[in-house]
Symmetry: C2
Subunit: 242 residues, 2 copies
DNA sequence: GAACTCTTGTAAACACCGTTCACTGAAACC
DNA sequence: GGTTTCAGTGAACGGTGTTTACAAGAGTTC
């Protein structure tokens, strides 16, 4: 079973500790505190030893981003699994609320992953839960049919590309969608929903609303309701008839 | 006229050069390059001399934020002044487009000011142009009357506070608004517009759309149209009948 | 104009940072 | 047992923010 040699086991363990220490430093003392020397100090080794595991400080930060994305995805999936209603609308609400809660609880991680002018993000981890959920939402046929010609033609090319991304994301979970169900109008509304979800969460995390918000949660819920309404979602939010 | 003594003039000049050097470093080489020693090197002085002007590196960064906000506000006001249509709808579009253009042209500045988990921003500079424009938009009576009871009651307290902020922002420009014109429904929609504007711009600057967008500009314009429609704006976008 | 204070700069030092390099010693392999 | 592989060390280099003691010019007072 344990094909791993002693040395390999130790190496894996050390790498785990490095990631853990880096994460703790980010959470507790901010991005600038994630320092090779601080990590090494935490492990009781010297800084150059870390170069046996990562090419550079930057590479380590990239790994940290991936870890954060993976953890966030796990949390979002958990909140999805915890929803027993079977109603897509409830699932969408659950995941969006979970995203907001995660971002507020992990502002440093959120800033690093979602608000850095860096490389376009190893999105493999990040998007999958959103994408598959968005795909399922659309496939559920509970979304109103938005005519394609509502969407400006210049956007078609990009939206078709996103359509493919969505279909790939869903097909990973064994579901296939007919092309005509996933029309451009719906896809456009999914993008607009992401704009609003991200916008609200980022503004709240960074405190950039134009006034002091004492009750952000109901404001978020209200935005969520409006979002689902605008997307043409036809499920009754509170009834259990499904 | 020049009450300033020679020493005061020199000091002011040096401070100007410090800010200028800091700004150039941020733009050309990123946040982490804005270093006391690098700034000093640029001015041909030594790093400790900067402590005669700023208490710390962090204080200098704060000043930098303020400068950025002021410059951005200048640019937004310029684009507002450049609009000769006299139509509020065109002005809103002009300012929103200007905000997007500025953010894309100054990603480092945008990240520093709008996407840092820091203190709540010396918003004096930042918001004023948005706020006064939002106030005027509402006061123009071109926005549909949204009934107050559309807005969940838990939000009323916060929105009333924002109402006051808006009225203050507009009154600085010598305009006063009757209380009933600036109703909570409208105010709520202004907040939602900021969510969408900020969301789109930040996603574009940080490259966090869930797919590669080759044509972001028409997507932004489309979002802007939708935003103005949702806010109940009743001015025809292209006619000049006013 | 001399004596004085205030201000703006300096150089040296401290502790920290990322990174490189020559090295050691133990694990793994043949 | 001899050899190779490799995680770790210590010293070093140039960079950072910050503090300290000190110099020298600007402005002020007599």
């Amino acid at each position: 079973m344990t094909e791993a040699t002693r040395r390999e086991r130790l190496r894996a363990e050390t790498e785990r500790e490095i990631r853990q220490a880096a994460r703790a430093l980010l959470v507790e003392r901010g991005r600038d505190a994630v320092t090779l020397r601080a990590i090494a100090r935490e492990l009781g080794i010297t800084a150059p030893a870390l170069y046996r595991y990562y090419d550079s400080h930057e590479a380590l930060l990239r790994q940290l981003c991936d870890d954060i994305c993976a953890d966030m995805a796990t949390e979002l999936y958990a909140s999805l699994a915890a929803d027993t209603s079977g109603q897509v609308g409830c699932q969408v609400r659950a995941v969006c609320r979970s995203f907001r809660r995660w971002a507020l609880a992990h502002p440093q991680e959120f800033a690093l992953v979602f608000a850095s002018p860096r490389d376009p993000l190893g999105a493999d981890q990040f998007g999958s839960v959103f994408l598959s959920l968005a795909g399922r939402l659309i496939a559920s046929n509970l979304v109103a049919n938005h005519a394609d010609d509502e969407v400006p033609e210049v956007l078609h090319e990009d939206l078709v590309r996103f359509q493919q991304v969505l279909m790939d994301a869903v097909s990973v979970h064994g579901v296939t969608i007919e092309n005509d169900v996933l029309n451009l109008g719906k896809i456009y509304h999914v993008v607009q929903s992401w704009v609003r979800l991200y916008g609200h969460v980022a503004l709240e995390v960074f405190g950039r609303f134009p006034f002091a918000v004492s009750n952000p949660e109901p404001m978020f819920d209200s935005m969520l309701d409006q979002m689902l309404t605008d997307i043409g979602f036809q499920e009754t939010p509170d009834s259990s008839g499904g």
